[in-house]
């Protein structure tokens, strides 16, 4: 991001290109996270209005979700959040090896989450519980909305899990080639922030979809 053609007299000024602005980069990441929050926020709004309009149907729909699977995935994501946080602590302390390991665990947990989700969706699709089937059309309209929102919200979340995991793979690459190190780790912090956001959204999705009967 820095340009080299700043002439020497600029060395005295603190805020210019050659100075790496870690706080600025982090602020940019946070601002981006806000847009993600409001993206899901729109869905939360739709969910809460339709739930308000069809309380019984939503309750029925939510009874058919597997709380155990949801809980398992919640623990997986919380743990993955921990490992990312540990990875950042490790790189700050100069322990690149531990940082890499923690990232690897995080990515494994992400894959575990996705596999788990695959079985959960697969189970429902196996029973024809998806938009367009005769079974689905026969559902009360509120329950139909519940499942539509279930697929939409978890689906969009799943895309974020995949994106987050890919980002973390790149972080791993940068740690191994040394471009992320104990004096320059904002990139890893930003990647971590994205991953925590994925966790944060799930923290709300889980009770909304699985627990509020």
């Amino acid at each position: 991001m820095s340009t080299n053609n700043t002439v020497s007299e600029n060395h005295s000024t603190a805020v210019n290109h050659e100075h790496r602005d870690d706080a600025g980069r982090k602020m940019g990441m946070w601002l981006f996270l806000f847009t993600e929050l409001l993206l899901f926020g729109g869905l939360f709004l739709v969910y809460s209005i339709y739930r308000f309009m069809n309380p019984a149907d939503f309750s029925n729909g939510s009874h058919h979700l597997d709380v155990f699977m949801g809980a398992l995935n919640t623990m997986v994501l919380i743990t993955s959040s921990l490992t990312v946080a540990l990875s950042i602590t490790a790189i700050q302390k100069g322990n690149a090896k531990l940082a890499l390991r923690m990232l690897a665990v995080t990515i494994l947990l992400a894959i575990f989450f996705l596999v788990n989700k695959y079985f959960e969706w697969g189970h429902k699709i196996h029973y024809d519980l998806y938009p367009g089937t005769d079974l689905f059309k026969a559902l009360p309209s509120g329950e139909g909305l519940f499942y539509v929102l279930y697929y939409f919200m978890t689906g969009l979340h799943m895309i974020h899990v995949i994106v987050g995991a890919v980002i973390l793979v790149f972080m791993g690459k940068y740690i191994s080639d040394g471009s992320i190190n104990s004096s320059n780790y904002t990139l890893l912090e930003n990647g971590g922030l994205y991953w925590h956001l994925v966790d944060l959204i799930w923290i709300f999705l889980f009770p909304l979809l699985y627990l509020i009967h």
Partner: protein
């Protein structure tokens, strides 16, 4: 790199082929110009569609196009003008061109992201325009894409909606960039309350871009998914609620009105003190008013839905909040007027456009209160009064502020000066044409003519003919202005670095600026606009 580069301006391609130097640039000034030229093209396409609509309305019955074509015309006119011109408009062009200059910085915080925003903008624009050429014809839903019609119509809605989604992403990234720039890259001594007011306006705007756009993003995605899978999110037959779509749409699209107007107000706040040679009256009030408009503007979206079946209390609350947002807007107008009082006013083209802005925005704002009031809105909703009102705000407000900014920063960006006499004449032609074009709409709206039909009852013809004639005068004014500008760019006399004697940092550097903007990062010791 060598020191010889230091005094070449930012147009220098540094040995690269021109197309490459421009298309891979991360220089905020070049990106601003890329936006400027592409925006102008889309604006002219929008003008053309508008002219066709006005021509169709010259008499009752079919004149130029079929009803269905007309539906496509007003949809695309809206989509192009709103998403491709008015929303990106001033921030993407003049924000990019001048924000780092105003703050005493070398560039924005994330230059590469800035270029990405432009590419997203172009991608979205191409997608939006190609709805004309491919598939089953241009969308015919109006730019609002109201469900359930947008879910059922056979026209090319999915593509237009995806285009809007991509354009929204571009807008978000610009906002993110400006917020970080303003927080992190102000030069020495530039405290928050020493920032130029245009920077304040961009700051407030960026927050809206950041926090409102994602909501419409997800809403438009829902429309696309609903069209492809038939899942019934907003289809009442399948249990959905179309009014919820309207809520979600206006949760973005009303704040978007402030994305359009706030930067315009910022431009006016720069021009008025410079051409009155007076310190701005109520600097802090104007700065806070920008934030207040942005914040209150979030919570007035319901006034678009007074006749959609919202509950009574909601309608009353939204109406009250709508009136509240008029207060900070009025504060700004009064402060501009107070700034001019006792000043030595110089009627150069930028100032003329600024004054034109104040007048037209006043008409637009006050007619906005008429439709913001619950009782009158029931009568005026979906009539030409609304069309007249928002053109006074969007075109008379944002459009004229855009032209004001263009005439104001022209010598800074191009290093040359346009012909002041011709620019003044172009302004008067445009201003006159504008009022002939849009004022009859307010009248015919009160008479009861509904919007979005290609036909009308015979008793509405006189105002419609006047309006259509106005559209020709307006177009003539636009062409005149463009000729003056183009001639200025190509053959204008060389301008000094500070032809208007401005005091903000943008005027304290070369015209056109060097690639690095400033030889040394400046230090600021007082507020802007301390004239005398």
């Amino acid at each position: 790199m060598t020191n010889t580069l230091k005094h070449t301006d930012f147009y220098d391609n540094e040995g690269k082929p021109a197309w490459k130097a421009w298309l891979t640039t991360t220089d905020h000034k070049r990106i601003g110009l890329l936006y400027f030229y592409s925006l102008t093209v889309f604006f002219l396409v929008g003008v053309l569609l508008g002219l066709m609509m006005r021509f169709e309305l010259i008499s009752p019955g079919k004149d130029l196009v079929e009803a269905q074509t007309y539906n496509g015309l007003f949809t695309l006119h809206g989509v192009i003008m709103i998403f491709l011109f008015v929303i990106p408009g001033i921030p993407a062009v003049f924000g990019n061109l001048t924000l780092p200059l105003l703050l005493g910085a070398r560039d924005v915080a994330f230059p590469k992201l800035n270029l990405l925003s432009w590419y997203l903008y172009i991608g979205g624009a191409v997608l939006a325009l190609s709805t004309l050429l491919v598939g089953d014809g241009p969308p015919d839903t109006g730019w609002t894409f109201y469900a359930p019609y947008s879910v059922k119509t056979g026209t090319n809605v999915s593509m237009a909606v995806l285009a809007a989604f991509i354009l929204g992403f571009s807008s978000i990234l610009t906002g993110l960039n400006f917020l970080t720039t303003i927080h992190r890259m102000r030069c020495h001594g530039m405290t928050w309350f020493r920032m130029p007011l245009f920077a304040w306006a961009l700051y407030a705007t960026s927050w809206i871009q950041l926090l409102a756009t994602p909501v419409v993003g997800i809403t438009l995605l829902m429309i696309v998914v609903e069209r492809w899978l038939g899942i019934g999110l907003f289809d009442p037959v399948l249990g959905g609620d179309p009014v919820l779509y309207q809520h979600l749409f206006w949760i973005y699209s009303h704040p978007a009105v402030y994305i359009m107007i706030l930067p315009g107000m910022g431009v006016i706040s720069e021009i008025i003190p410079t051409f009155s040679r007076r310190r701005i009256f109520g600097y802090k009030a104007i700065a806070y008013a920008s934030l207040a408009i942005a914040f209150i503007g979030y919570f007035v979206w319901g006034h678009h839905m007074f006749t959609s079946g919202m509950s009574g209390p909601a309608r009353i609350i939204f109406s009250i909040l709508t009136f509240l947002v008029a207060i900070p807007s009025a504060i700004k107008v009064f402060n501009w007027l107070a700034t001019m009082y006792n000043g030595s006013i110089d009627h150069k083209p930028p100032m003329l456009y600024a004054l034109g802005f104040i007048f037209l925005f006043l008409v637009g704002g006050l007619s906005g209160l008429v439709v913001g009031a619950l009782a009158t809105d029931v009568h005026l909703h979906d009539t030409y009064f609304v069309v007249g009102h928002f053109h006074y705000v969007m075109f008379g407000g944002t459009g004229f502020a855009f032209f004001a900014a263009l005439h104001y920063w022209f010598p800074k960006i191009f290093g040359k000066m346009y012909n002041l006499k011709h620019a003044t004449r172009a302004f008067w032609l445009l201003f006159t044409g504008f009022n002939i074009l849009y004022f009859p709409m307010l009248v015919v709206g009160i008479m009861g003519m509904p919007r979005r039909y290609y036909d009308y009852l015979p008793q509405f013809q006189v105002p419609n003919v006047i309006s259509t004639i106005g559209s020709w005068i307006t177009t003539a004014g636009l062409i005149y202005m463009i000729v003056v500008i183009v001639k200025g760019i190509r053959h204008g006399e060389k301008a000094s670095s500070n032809p208007w004697n401005g005091l903000t940092l943008d005027w304290q550097t070369d015209s056109p600026p060097t690639k690095e903007n400033f030889d040394a990062i400046p230090t600021v010791t007082e507020r802007p606009y301390e004239y005398k």
